[in-house]
């Protein structure tokens, strides 16, 4: 207690306090100085650095993808459109916990395992850091609202609008126009750096058909913009912008109405129809049936949908029948016949006596006449080339083929595009096979046998051709030798377009231009030569085409073909729900052009029809060709043929030979 009562020295205590206060003031000054030094360091010394960091925080350069060019048919109908959709996108770098965010999102929107798997795939692709990746396409209005309401809990998640491809005609143009879908890793890696740059902000590219062929024209040029974003990645302002250049709008030769007619004409059959404008080679219609909905692929087809398409081994909807080869059968006969005339092997007067089969000299094997399989014995009797064509006499062509030899056949038919892809912008079309000695040696390692020629001369054996090739060859025939090369693209941004042709094909010259007339007549007889007293003296397609429509205002040249099914894969045979006998049925083919033999109007359309397991070319494929031609000539072109001309030409076709 003594301390408490100790005398206090006030003056000393005050001095002590004052000294302490001074020390405190000095410390305060020192600490403030330290603070100012620190601030000076941040704001003056490191100003440039932090200024750049600040801009880097808020300023983002981003791509502005160009609008993809639209695709129109020749009449201006839209075949490929761009439609706005809303997608849920995620910037992975801004998401704190991806798994829990995905789990939360799954409670807000429909989110399948498939969506998440595809999202992970997209994440794993080469991508710019801090770029958004789509999790779900096509949000509904309700889903958009739910995400928007919860946006504060969804850092890094955004709803982005995007224009995506839409194909208004759906499966009708699935193979010809093709489709776009997401750029996959391999495609991305195949791009050059400049191309990669140009695809910034673009997620889709053409995968098939015109969409793929003309990707470079359709895509356009990427634009850029500098935007200011807040810390949640929302765009607050746009500061600078270089507009993208939209892709070019393409007009095709394709005619949607004709395409539709062809698809309908095929009915329930699997098959293909290709129609070409002989004057230009423009592809008026190119249908493969069954098709599929190309719109499914645009936003990433689900595994389920895809497996349905892939596992349908009978209908194979993804398989483009119009550009894949089949044995052409008797449809090659007019070309072989023309080869015979041109080579001088035969002339108009040349005839054979057909016993119903053919035998090579010194060989006992008989090549039977397929066209007479069901008939009661006997052959076609005395047969000249025209008769051999309109009656589809195999024996005549066995004989002719034998006389010509495979080298002549190959040389002549190759001018029509057999064994080659004449198309200028259908690069994916197969070339089929126009057999030759070299071809057989190379592909089979075997020499050419005379019997091979016999098979080839009726379009069997090694000979394979696509419906596109058949339509092209028929168009050249209709043109009397003027070679046209098939093309899809008619105009770019309204300006007529001539596709690049690195390998122009020469015109086919016949020694006597009358050969063309002769063949045209024979093919017209196929369709129009009626029954007569003469045994079997009528066109193979008369009954199914001309007889069905006696008021036909034009003449149609055609040739039917029936091709044997060459082999069905074990996979199909072992599948249970298929009637195998149906799959063993022959394929029916028909090639045709019209109007034929018209004194004033050149042929306007050539058509090749392929009907899978259709059994008969003339009775099944023929009427389909007729329907397509009717639609084109009568409904689309609305031609007036003149009754007098028709009658005169008809008289030639129906007159009896002797």
């Amino acid at each position: 207690m003594t301390g408490k009562w100790q005398l206090k020295d006030h003056e000393a205590e005050k001095q002590l306090f004052t000294r302490r206060l001074a020390v405190a003031a000095v410390i305060v000054a020192l600490l403030f100085s330290a603070l100012i030094v620190k601030l000076f360091d941040l704001q003056v010394v490191q100003y440039e650095y932090f200024s750049a960091r600040s801009d880097g925080n808020r300023l983002h350069s981003q791509y502005v993808p160009p609008a993809r060019g639209l695709i129109f048919d020749s009449q201006g109908e839209l075949l490929a459109d761009n439609q706005p959709i809303f997608n849920l996108t995620i910037v992975k770098e801004q998401v704190e916990d991806l798994d829990s965010t995905l789990a939360f999102l799954a409670t807000l929107i429909r989110l399948s395992d498939d969506d998440i798997a595809q999202f992970q795939n997209r994440l794993n692709r080469n991508r710019v850091p801090f770029s958004s990746v789509t999790l779900r396409y096509l949000l509904s209005e309700e889903e958009k609202a739910r995400v928007a309401v919860n946006s504060h809990q969804l850092a890094g998640v955004a709803i982005e609008s995007q224009f995506v491809r839409s194909y208004p005609l759906g499966s009708l143009t699935a193979h010809s126009v093709g489709y776009v879908s997401e750029i996959n890793r391999a495609e991305m890696n195949a791009l050059t750096d400049a191309q990669k740059e140009n695809y910034g902000g673009t997620y889709h590219m053409g995968k098939s058909g015109v969409e793929r062929t003309y990707e470079a024209l359709l895509h356009g040029t990427v634009g850029y913009e500098i935007v200011e974003k807040n810390n949640r990645g929302q765009i607050m302002r746009r500061l600078d912008r270089t507009d993208p250049v939209a892709g070019k709008n393409l007009t095709l030769h394709l005619n949607a109405k004709l395409q539709m007619a062809a698809e309908q004409a095929l009915g329930d059959f699997r098959g293909a129809v290709v129609a070409i404008e002989p004057a230009t080679g423009g592809i008026l219609a190119m249908v493969s049936k069954p098709g599929f909905d190309p719109n499914l692929f645009v936003t990433g087809i689900s595994n389920k949908d895809y497996s349905v398409l892939v596992n349908d081994v009978v209908n194979t909807p993804l398989f483009d029948r119009s550009t894949n080869p089949y044995p052409p059968g008797s449809t090659v006969k007019p070309f072989i016949g023309l080869a015979g005339l041109q080579s001088g092997t035969i002339d108009y007067e040349f005839t054979i006596q057909d016993p119903g089969y053919f035998r090579l000299p010194g060989v006992s094997y008989r090549w039977g006449d397929y066209t007479l399989r069901t008939a009661i014995g006997g052959g076609h009797g005395e047969t000249d080339l025209q008769k051999a064509i309109y009656q589809s006499c195999d024996t005549f062509f066995y004989d002719l083929g034998h006389r010509l030899g495979i080298d002549s056949i190959h040389g002549f038919l190759s001018q029509f595009g057999f064994g080659d892809n004449f198309a200028l912008d259908v690069g994916y079309a197969r070339t089929g096979v126009l057999p030759s000695r070299d071809w057989k040696r190379e592909s089979r390692g075997e020499p050419w046998y005379p019997g091979d020629t016999i098979n080839s001369s009726i379009g069997q054996g090694y000979m394979w051709a696509t419906p596109l090739q058949l339509a092209t060859a028929t168009a050249i025939l209709a043109n009397r030798g003027a070679v046209v090369q098939p093309r899809m693209l008619k105009a770019v941004d309204g300006v007529p377009f001539e596709p690049l042709n690195n390998d122009p094909k020469p015109e086919i010259f016949a020694d006597d231009a009358d050969y063309w007339r002769y063949i045209h007549e024979a093919m017209t007889m196929v369709v129009h030569r009626p029954f007569s007293d003469e045994f079997r003296d009528y066109g193979t397609a008369y009954e199914s085409i001309a007889m069905q429509d006696r008021a036909m205002p034009y003449l149609m040249a055609g040739k039917s073909g029936t091709a044997q099914v060459v082999g069905i894969s074990q996979e199909i045979l072992s599948s249970e729900d298929i009637i195998v006998s149906d799959l063993n049925k022959d394929h029916g083919l028909f090639v045709s052009f019209a109007p034929a033999m018209h004194p004033e109007i050149d042929p306007k359309i050539s058509v090749a029809v392929f009907v899978e397991n259709g059994e008969h070319g003339s009775s099944v494929a023929g009427p389909i060709a007729k329907q397509v031609i009717d639609t084109y000539l009568l409904e689309i072109l609305r031609l007036d043929f003149g009754a007098a001309d028709l009658e005169a030409a008809g008289a030639i076709v129906t007159q009896l030979d002797e």
């Binding site: 301390g3 302490r20 600490l31 601030l39």
Partner: protein, 382 residues
Amino acid sequence: MNNPDFVRQASSFNASRRSGASLWQALHIDPPLLIGVCLLGAFGLFVLNSATGGDQAVIRRQGIVMVVGLIVMCAVAQFNVHFFRRWAPPIYGAGIALLILVLFIGAEVNGAKSWIDLPGLPRFQPSEIMKFVVPVLLAWYLASRPLPPKFKHLFWSAVMIVIPAGLIVLQNDTGTAIMVFMSGVFVVLLAGIRWRIVFAGLFVGLLGSPAWYLFLAQAHQKNRILTFLDPYRDPTGAGYNIIQSQIAIGSGGIYGKGYGNGAQSHLDFIPESHTDFILAVLAEEFGLLGVLFLIGLYLFVLLRGFAIAYAARDLFGRLLAGSITLTFFLYVFINMAMVSGLVPVIGLPLPLISRGGTSIVTLFIGFGLLMSIQTHDRQKFP
């Protein structure tokens, strides 16, 4: 105990403006302090307006809090500071009781269970009041004992400081505990505690801090220290605040981006931009010059506080005024230093600038006490 000499000395401090001083003296208002505080508050509202993007509701509320604070300040200033001296022990006892009560019935806000929320009364934090109760008690205790304080007195002083500080730590409010602790320590330091003891204490603290770090520190505290040492070890997590705040400050440069143009704050890159990190907004928009202006305002208030402490009539007033001023400085410094990355992040607001409620009113209580020390006429006291 109070000799007339000292009275004359202290009065001479105000001699130059004696004529106007009498009115203010009667109102118990210290004009320089009032001007400094008002300038700070006005500047704070101005910055807050930008930080909140012109949110009028927030601005209005902050304005009301300021006005309430001014009223409280004036009210406190009406009490002769010796009233508090006389009642120091009971006030302290009541404070401790409230702190204990909070542990049982306290309401939890932002992880700190430090609020008393009784129906019919405004919600308040007893711990805030302890920032004055502790220095008042210590000033009362040490002023009547010979200085420099003897070891025995230091021991009891330590007990008086540690009890409330410890209770506040139990409330999980380390920031306030540090401030309460320091408010007491400042009294002891100003009372002339021998330097060797101070250095010994610092030495022990220095030696003890690794042990504290290894054995006592909680995970979030360790994290804050690691983040302070290297913000980029977790740039999007723990380090995000300090990195973004440094970017904001640094990008402000000397002159700033201009009022309302702070990209960092307006694009929400700065978290807590209304409260603890408001300095980043200010520094971004007004640059180094703006920050220096703010430091100038603070210095003005601090110098006035020092002057009041220096001129105070008796030791109690001196110690209390010194402690209040230094506590205010500590507030300012810790906030500014943590936002600019000079010290680890401790959750303290920037006085009079940050958006707040109780914390602002508490500051005004401190200014009220300073005014009371300055203006209550010495002659009246026996």
